[in-house]
């Protein structure tokens, strides 16, 4: 448990009278790549969004890097600096250039000087293959490019956890590969990742653990091998028969 990066205990989340997460417990250790799969409405995105408190939990406890983020006294902004998040719809800041998108937060939070942030951003852009787009506006980029910028923007903060909320769901098919490639590289480098995705191929290849959710519960979890090749729960089998 010493290297537990994320620890979720008895998490419940209601939207009004609708119970979206019912008693979720989960441990993620350093360097693990956990992939959440499940039908829409199963609560996987909500679970992800609870981890960095974009959604407030109804009850239960979430501890990230030793900080109880469900505790009101925790400085959630400080914790979030270490949790990168990539959204389905990219959420790039449309009024800012790519480089400004990336440097805004670290410079404003005084984590990096302007020059440091810029140098770092350029290196990251090179890494995601977009060095020539530093001065472009988001509206001038393709979906795949936007998402790669969004990943680079998150990495600029030097996070030790990355959350991905259906990062390829809004992309045209031919652009999915370029985004997954960046994610795979991140995984190889040992980043702790929690990924909500429908990309079963990605999960097979990269996940250290696959979690199948349905109806607000974790129904089944295990290695990709276990979950995809020998699912035990009927609901998992049913779901996989539809997506594989």
């Amino acid at each position: 448990m010493a290297d537990s990066k994320i620890s979720v205990k008895n998490l419940r989340k209601n939207f009004g009278s609708l119970e979206v997460l019912k008693d979720i417990s989960l441990e993620v250790t350093e360097g693990e790549v956990v992939v959440l799969i499940g039908p829409s409405g199963s609560g996987k995105s909500t679970l992800l969004r609870c981890l960095n408190q974009l959604e407030k939990v109804t009850s239960g406890q979430i501890i990230i890097d030793g900080y109880d983020v469900t505790d009101k006294h925790t400085d959630i902004n400080k914790v979030r600096e270490n949790i990168g998040m990539v959204f389905q719809h990219f959420n790039l800041f449309n009024h800012l250039t790519v480089i400004k998108n990336m440097t805004l937060a670290p410079v404003h939070l005084k984590l990096l000087s302007k020059e440091e942030a810029k140098d770092k951003a350029l290196k990251l852009l090179e890494r995601v293959g977009l060095a020539d787009k530093a001065e472009a506006f988001p509206s001038q980029l393709s979906g795949g490019q936007k998402q790669r910028v969004a990943i680079a923007r998150a990495l600029e903060m030097n996070p030790d956890i990355m959350l991905f909320d259906e990062p390829t769901s809004a992309l045209d098919p031919e652009m999915v590969g370029e985004v997954l490639a960046v994610m795979k590289e991140l995984a190889r480098e040992g980043m702790t990742m929690v990924v909500v995705t429908h990309e079963i191929g990605f999960a097979r290849e990269v996940a250290s653990r696959v979690i199948f959710m349905e109806g607000g519960y974790i129904v089944e979890e295990g290695t990709p091998e276990e979950v995809f090749n020998n699912p035990k729960e009927p609901r998992t089998i049913d779901f996989l028969s539809k997506v594989l």
């Binding site: 960095n52 974009l54 902004n77 400080k78 979030r80 600096e81 949790i83 990168g84 998040m85 959204f87 719809h89 959420n91 790039l92 800041f93 449309n94 009024h95 805004l104 937060a105 404003h108 939070l109 506006f137 509206s139 969004a150 923007r153 998150a154 903060m157």
Partner: protein, 222 residues
């Protein structure tokens, strides 16, 4: 017509100056009022939401002319009633307060709508990077909201400029009030109101042309 211009030209220019002074003062305070109540209404704090809604509903629910009477006559009467015998408001002070409150309520709605037109994901992305609500609002959401707000804000500016004429009822010597005086002295209604109308129109058309230019320049970045 020429006679009016010759005899009352200076008076008309001074009156236009008063109209513009009242407009600028009111717009300045309305912007502040609008930002405060507009931001109260977009947040998730119930108390702020309530205060913001009450303000906007109350002010929008009262005709400007009633508000002007209330502030010019009603408020000083109340303050005198509690012992400050000599308290009075000048027509400019009362007019500025009434018009700022009125325009501020509409401005609050424009600002609320503008901010809510920005995709929620923008705020979430800001928060996920560790920025506070305030910083995300100031650095990410508001700059994008302003683009969509500008046409409505300019429209409101023009309405406010025209609404200054209502304050002739509390004796503020702006353009319309001076028009009444001139008409009373000369009995040349058609000529007087033609001149007054043209003066308003020239200022307003000039302003809206300028603002169109500004709007275009701001949108060019996109």
């Amino acid at each position: 017509m020429l006679m009016i211009l010759q005899r009352y030209g200076l008076m008309l220019v001074a009156a236009l100056g008063q109209t513009l002074l009242l407009t600028l003062l009111s717009l300045f305070f309305a912007m502040i009022i609008g930002m405060i109540f507009g931001l109260m209404n977009v947040g998730h704090n119930r108390v702020f939401n309530f205060i913001g809604t009450v303000y906007v509903d109350a002010v929008r629910g009262v005709p400007l002319i009633v508000l002007a009477y209330f502030i010019y006559f009603g408020v000083p009467a109340a303050i005198q009633g509690i012992g400050f015998d000599t308290f009075r408001l000048t027509a400019l002070q009362a007019g500025t307060i009434a018009l700022s409150m009125n325009c501020g309520a509409y401005m609050a709605e424009i600002i609320r709508a503008g901010i809510q037109s920005v995709d929620r994901g923008q705020m979430e992305a800001g928060r996920s990077l560790g920025l506070t609500y305030g910083s995300s609002m100031a650095l990410i959401v508001v700059p994008q909201a302003i683009r969509t707000m500008i046409p409505s804000i300019i429209n409101q500016y023009i309405i406010t400029l025209k609404d200054t004429s209502i304050l002739s009822v509390i004796g503020f010597s702006e353009l319309t009030n001076v028009g009444k005086t001139i008409m009373g002295n000369t009995f040349m209604a058609l000529q007087t109101w033609t001149i007054i109308g043209i003066m308003y129109m020239v200022v307003i058309v000039t302003l809206s042309k300028l603002s169109k230019k500004l709007e275009r320049r701001i949108n060019r970045g996109r």
